[in-house]
């Protein structure tokens, strides 16, 4: 789902009571904390070597020894999920971060650029926005070829237009706000107004969008991996793990179910935090 649209869903939505909101936030925070831990120090959470293959142990059901069971190569699914966190979330973070920085740069420059430059830039963005993020990422992979790096590039490029557009509209809107005008009337030079009043606002909106965009990017990257266009075996990566579990659904459902749950939990947690941040920033900005 598009970051842009995902983010609108938070508008002025008061969560059902403060308590529910708090519970959701705490749950999301716990999930994110665990994920952050898994991404930074997987060795501390994992119980096995994620690459350790022992075909004699293949397709064991979840047990005390293997919490999420084992896959076809006898690897510990739990440990692979833990080790996969870094890569799977990393792509989302990296792509979103890059898209944010580059997008804000392009967008805010376009907003202050001469008309024809701005118009040309926006046409390109319009064309790119013509494609849903996943399709766009897919097409980028089509051009660059499959592979982990290309997937990251593809997801970044796919996310980029949203930020460019947001940065441009926000820059425009914020430079024509009454308070920006007031600062200019008082005598603050135009570029100073831009840096002190406009840019922080643009970055704030873009960051909020980014917290939501991470989820989108994680899903897109997982989708590409699932299609076999991303990282390859034996890399522990959730989309790929899910893909290799798909023919074992009846026999050994745990191979596909747990990586899938990991993706869902991550994206839900990220979205909750993103939504709450967004709602807060709107309350503040209103």
């Amino acid at each position: 789902m598009s970051t842009e649209i995902r983010s609108t869903l938070v508008r002025r939505r008061s969560a059902p009571g403060g308590t529910a909101r708090r519970v959701a936030l705490i749950a999301a925070a716990v999930v994110l904390l665990a994920l952050g831990f898994a991404a930074l120090a997987p060795g501390l959470l994992a119980t096995h070597d994620p690459l350790l293959t022992d075909v004699r142990q293949a397709l064991q059901a979840p047990s005390a020894q293997h919490w999420f069971g084992t896959d076809q190569s006898g690897r510990d699914v739990y440990s692979r999920v833990v080790f996969g966190a870094g890569r799977s979330i990393g792509i989302g973070l990296l792509a979103t971060g890059l898209a944010l920085v580059v997008g804000v740069a392009i967008g805010s420059l376009a907003a202050v650029a001469p008309r024809p430059v701005d118009a040309a830039a926006m046409r390109v963005i319009d064309v790119l926005l013509a494609f849903p993020e996943f399709l766009l990422a897919l097409l980028v992979v089509a051009v660059l070829g499959p592979g982990a790096t290309n997937v990251a590039v593809a997801v970044t490029l796919a996310a980029l237009p949203v930020y460019v557009r947001l940065a441009r509209t926000r820059t425009r809107a914020l430079s024509s706000t009454e308070y920006a005008e007031a600062a200019r009337i008082v005598g603050v030079p135009r570029p100073v107004v831009h840096v002190t009043h406009v840019l922080p606002g643009v970055l704030a909106s873009a960051s909020v969008l980014a917290t939501i965009g991470i989820g989108t990017s994680i899903l897109a990257a997982a989708g590409l991996s699932f299609l076999g266009l991303g990282p390859t075996e034996p890399t522990p990566e959730w989309g790929l793990m899910l893909s290799s579990g798909r023919n074992l659904l009846v026999q050994a459902p745990w191979v596909a179910v747990f990586p899938g749950l990991a993706i869902t939990a991550t994206v839900v947690a990220v979205s909750i935090v993103g939504r709450i941040l967004r709602a807060r920033s709107e309350e503040r900005g209103a």
Binding site: T177, E178, Y179, A180, E181, A182, A183, R184, I185, V186, G187, V188, T196, H197, P200, G201, A204, E283, R284, G285, A286
Partner: protein
């Protein structure tokens, strides 16, 4: 007796009782005004009469009869049969109380569709036309096909009343039906309500505008903090208010005109044939005037008459398409308004909600302005404190963010910012229209003091004539971008020449303390 009979109405929320034991009787053919300051529970009372209290609030009463029906203990379903058919509501925000996506005809027809499903087709159209005719809406057939946004405020208000009376309810409750309207339109709407009462409907008029009460109400009920403090025939209560609250209300209605000697020195600002176009539309058309030091020029006119556009040209943020502006005899334009000269003329914008960066504290906003003047860093804090004092705010406000300020406080911060750079001319674009009466009076007083202290010239944009009388020396009346009349306040008020000015004055006279619009 049909109409309304309420005894001991209590409305309670989580924080306690808001309405405490209200009694209200309204008979058919009668118009009763419910009067009180903002927040006394007028709207809640009205909503409780339709069983439409907001979530979290509960109503209880010893007696509550609507059109002869005892509604105590009614469930949602039972209320629904009543609403629109026996009791109708014209709610407070007329401009946004019609569904913007539906045609006026559909909106007016809706109560009929709900309560008289048998009326259909041509019969329904006839009933809609009747309702629209009844509220004296010109060209009812055309209006029925239009959408709310295609109607002016006054027409919209009348359409709303038409939809309320379409199913011929016995009781009509009108919640501040004139707040959002231009003074000229207010009178028409009030007369319409009177005529509804004269057709046998029990009308409740909710307002805090005593002029409106005088004009149409038979009786008046004065509310204070959720309780009735005084009630009686309108004339009697107005002539001899017994309760102190009533007395303040009646007293606040009149303002003394300003009397100052005109100054004869060279004008600070002079404009000659100023014109500004937006595409085909001429927003400001050949306007000329002068402003002198220490004096105030009021610019009056309807919404859209070009007041803001004019103000922006004066400040030097918009370029005039034709005509000249001179400050102290030298040409003034966005190009000239650079560097230190930029600071000579300052603007207080129309909308206090958008004028402050929501992320910045009040102190930071003011420091930014102070810094522009080249004040050394060490003194800025003290200067900010002085500025806040000057506009009547305590220094503690420096740490607040805009979201933590009321509208009046924001407006004062905006004024402080403008003053920070030591302007000679202050342009205020409707600085008080968004504020309630008491806050408004305080700000106007402050401005007069400042003008005196700093020998400040002011251009004061407003469409409220009452304010003009209290603050301005001269007045410029604008209509459709053109100046239709100009001169000293006293003369204009005494002998208006242009029909538009006269119309403005008439409307204002019928509502001398008419609240500012919130447009």
């Amino acid at each position: 007796m049909s109409g309304i009979r309420v005894r001991g109405l209590r409305i309670a929320g989580a924080d306690g009782e808001i309405v405490r034991g209200l009694d209200l009787d309204v008979a058919a053919w009668e118009c009763v005004a419910l009067v009180g300051e903002s927040g006394t529970g007028k709207s809640l009372t009205a909503r409780s009469l339709l069983g439409l209290l907001p979530r979290g609030l509960t109503a209880a009463a010893e007696t509550m009869e609507i059109d002869g029906v005892d509604v105590r203990g009614f469930g949602e379903r039972q209320w629904r049969t009543l609403r629109g058919r026996r009791v109708a509501l014209v709610s407070q925000d007329a401009l946004v109380s019609l569904d913007p996506l539906r045609r006026i005809g559909a909106e007016v027809a809706e109560p009929l569709r709900i309560h008289a499903p048998s009326v259909r087709g041509a019969a329904l159209r006839d009933r809609v036309r009747d309702a629209l005719t009844r509220v004296a809406l010109p060209e009812p057939d055309l209006r029925a096909r239009q959408y709310p946004h295609e109607l002016s405020g006054g027409l919209r208000q009348r359409a709303l009343i038409a939809s309320a009376v379409a199913a011929r309810p016995a009781v009509l409750i009108a919640d501040e039906p004139t707040t959002a309207l231009d003074a000229t339109v207010q009178a028409r709407v009030l007369d319409l309500l009177r005529s509804v009462a004269d057709e046998g409907v029990a009308v409740v008029l909710i307002t805090h505008d005593l002029a409106a009460v005088r004009r149409i109400a038979d009786r008046v009920v004065i509310l204070h903090e959720g309780a009735v403090v005084e009630t009686g025939p309108t004339a009697a209560v107005m002539a001899a208010p017994r309760d102190p609250h009533t007395r303040t209300l009646v007293a606040a209605a009149a303002a003394a005109p300003l009397r100052r000697a005109p100054r004869t020195d060279a004008p600070l600002l002079s404009a000659e044939g100023l014109t500004k176009r937006f595409g085909d539309r001429v927003a400001v058309d050949g306007v000329s005037f002068e402003v002198r030091r220490g004096r105030t020029l009021a610019v009056v006119g309807e919404s859209g008459s070009g007041k803001t556009t004019l103000a922006r040209m004066i400040v030097g943020v918009a370029e005039a398409d034709a005509g000249t502006l001179r400050v102290d005899g030298r040409a003034w334009s966005p190009r000239a308004a650079r560097g230190a000269a930029r600071r000579r003329i300052q603007l207080v914008q129309q909308n206090p909600w958008g004028a402050l960066d929501p992320r910045w504290s009040v102190g930071r906003t003011l420091r930014e302005a102070v810094a522009v003047t080249g004040a050394p860093r060490s003194q800025r804090r003290a200067l900010v404190t002085d500025l806040l004092r000057e506009v009547g705010l305590s220094p503690a406000f420096a740490t607040r963010r805009p979201a933590q300020l009321s509208g009046g406080q924001r407006q004062r911060v905006a004024i402080a910012r403008a003053l920070a750079v030591g302007p000679e001319l202050l342009v205020l674009d409707e600085p008080v229209s968004a504020l309630d009466a008491t806050v408004r009076a305080r700000i106007l007083d402050r401005l007069l003091d400042l003008q005196h202290e700093r020998d400040l010239a002011m251009v004061f944009v407003t469409h409220d004539l009452d304010v003009v009388r209290g603050i301005a020396d001269d007045v410029l009346v604008m209509q459709d971008g053109r100046v239709v009349e100009a001169g000293p306040v006293a003369r204009i008020f005494a002998e208006p020449r242009h029909p538009f000015t006269r119309e403005l004055l008439d409307a204002a006279a019928s509502a001398p303390s008419g609240p500012g619009t919130t447009a």
